[in-house]
Symmetry: C2
Subunit: 327 residues, 2 copies
């Protein structure tokens, strides 16, 4: 089904993997006998741990793939992106590694740690007022005015292909899978991952996971068009997007077997398990796919092999401790 | 220098590795570019992550090696051990896997989570009053009275050899090292690790790490005999032993290049780095060796390759959150 009119194909993910070789971390695949036993009789769950990726999340993959693909003179003019989270750090680090000036537009109420981390990678941070500014419009205007190249967070073939290298590595390492799960925000991660998984293992069932109230993908796939939801209040801040991206929607509509929804409390329970039992720090969004397995959202998994993307580990200590201790 | 009159030799560690094959986790070796940059110009630090070992700490290695080496009829009569920490869980799980009844003597004020975890592995827990009972005496009496086999926590060749498989795997995976560091409590871990490292890489400098106030090894090595210190108040609860074990003292006195001391605040800082930047949950003792590198206790490490044992990840959420947030 190579490409078949979709925004990206398996070859794009493979090309991204070549660009990322020796630059991105080849993150470990972790397993837990205790988690397997909770998941079902004879179930094997393979966690692809992007919390151990550079900048602490998969976002580095797509950002580097995009920026490394630009012509040198385009890179030299400078890069702009907008994000209050992991995409900001991914773009900032990729720019530093590739010698491109980076400007990141961030909401003025972004956590001080995220501002500091982004500046720490050498980026110039421009603050905007979240109440008065629609970031997608602002970043495009800013790019035009300042003659900078805009790197979108998800609605972009190079970003989608770059994120898919996480699933490519997972399949290369563990082989056959009955199920594959990843969290869905704008859909960049899932677009690339579904392309890799379905390209290599056509029989694998691929499911996205959202949280209650952040179910723009469930609604959009049911309607057959991109639905915009109210700003979601979920703890999973990485998937608080209000609408699927255009290209991710085309890609995922063609490739996914479904999208399941978990509650914030199910995410918290998965986080507690992963931190206290598996000793891995994960951010709430990083626990979303594991939560779907723990909460039985895929039905009977007895004897099945399940691949799960742990998307990131950049959790604020206050949030972590609130989840762990309830205080 | 194979054995040379010491309690264990490299062959004992290799035999333990055979017994543990497919049973213990071959734990990952993690690296961090940011940690490397803090450690020195061109320094490479390799973290052997026993926080991802079964039961969350290296202790499973030695316990399983000891119990698997017993005659079946001896195992069938039952095993006893005393510990308020990771050794309890290591023995309990090894017994369950090997079909041996396990009795663990634990202080009545041990954390409820540790009691529950030990019982969760199927062990019978017998509580004792820490004020009135000296555990080493109690466990030996209990073993005699109930005809059980006692598995010591560190002063035992099979325990020492089992723990050494962590360093054996590290050297197999990363090759040459200029320095090797591990925390020292009773000395079981370091005995086996130093045996593996010096056996495979005779030129590697091997250093133990203790915390201020828990420096029984520094004092004992300086005096040339085992010194007993007052009960230490360090945050690193895994190394609150008051005196080196007899066999570990003989082994480590022959093999170590030195023991360095870090402060509790240096341990906290290393914990914060490992949790927030490396996304790994570590217990305070698990951060002790990394703290020695971060705090510059080994002098100039520019261009050096350094192996570090992360001994475990069983940290109480309250302790973790106090370290992370200061609250």
């Amino acid at each position: 089904m190579e490409n078949a009119g979709l925004p990206i194909g398996l070859d794009d993910v493979r090309a991204a993997a070549e660009r990322l070789r020796g630059v991105a971390n080849r993150t470990p695949v972790m397993t837990s006998r205790t988690f397997d036993a909770l998941a079902g009789d004879g179930t094997r769950v393979f966690f692809k741990c992007e919390n151990y990726q550079r900048v602490g999340a998969f976002k580095f993959r797509g950002a580097y793939n995009h920026i490394a693909s630009l012509a040198p003179e385009e890179r030299a003019r400078g890069i702009v992106a907008t994000s209050s989270g992991n995409h900001a750090q991914g773009v900032a680090l990729a720019c530093r590694l590739l010698g491109a000036p980076a400007t990141i537009l961030m909401p003025s109420d972004a956590p001080a740690t995220k501002l500091a981390a982004t500046r720490g990678y050498g980026a110039t941070v421009v603050l905007y007022d979240r109440e008065k500014t629609y970031p997608e419009t602002f970043v495009q205007e800013y790019a035009t005015t300042h003659d900078l190249h805009w790197v979108p967070a998800y609605d972009d073939p190079l970003i989608m292909a770059g994120q898919g290298t996480a699933a490519l590595e997972l399949v290369e390492e563990v082989g056959a899978l009955d199920f594959f799960l990843a969290p869905m925000g704008g859909g960049g991660l899932m677009s690339g991952c579904a392309t890799a998984v379905k390209g290599l293992l056509p029989g694998t069932k691929v499911f996205g996971v959202e949280t209650e109230g952040a179910d723009d993908w469930v609604r959009s796939l049911a309607r057959g068009e991109r639905v915009m939801i109210d700003p979601p209040a979920t703890i999973a801040d990485g998937i608080r997007t209000r609408q699927p991206g255009v290209r991710p929607f085309a890609q995922c509509r063609a490739l996914l077997d479904g999208v399941v929804v978990v509650s914030d409390e199910e995410v918290r329970e998965a986080m507690r398990f992963m931190v206290t039992r598996m000793k891995m720090l994960v951010e709430p969004t990083g626990a979303v796919a594991a939560a779907a397995v723990m909460a039985g959202k895929l039905g009977d998994l007895a004897g099945k092999r399940v691949g799960v993307i742990v998307s990131g580990g950049n959790v604020d200590p206050d949030v972590l401790c609130e989840v762990l201790t309830g205080a």
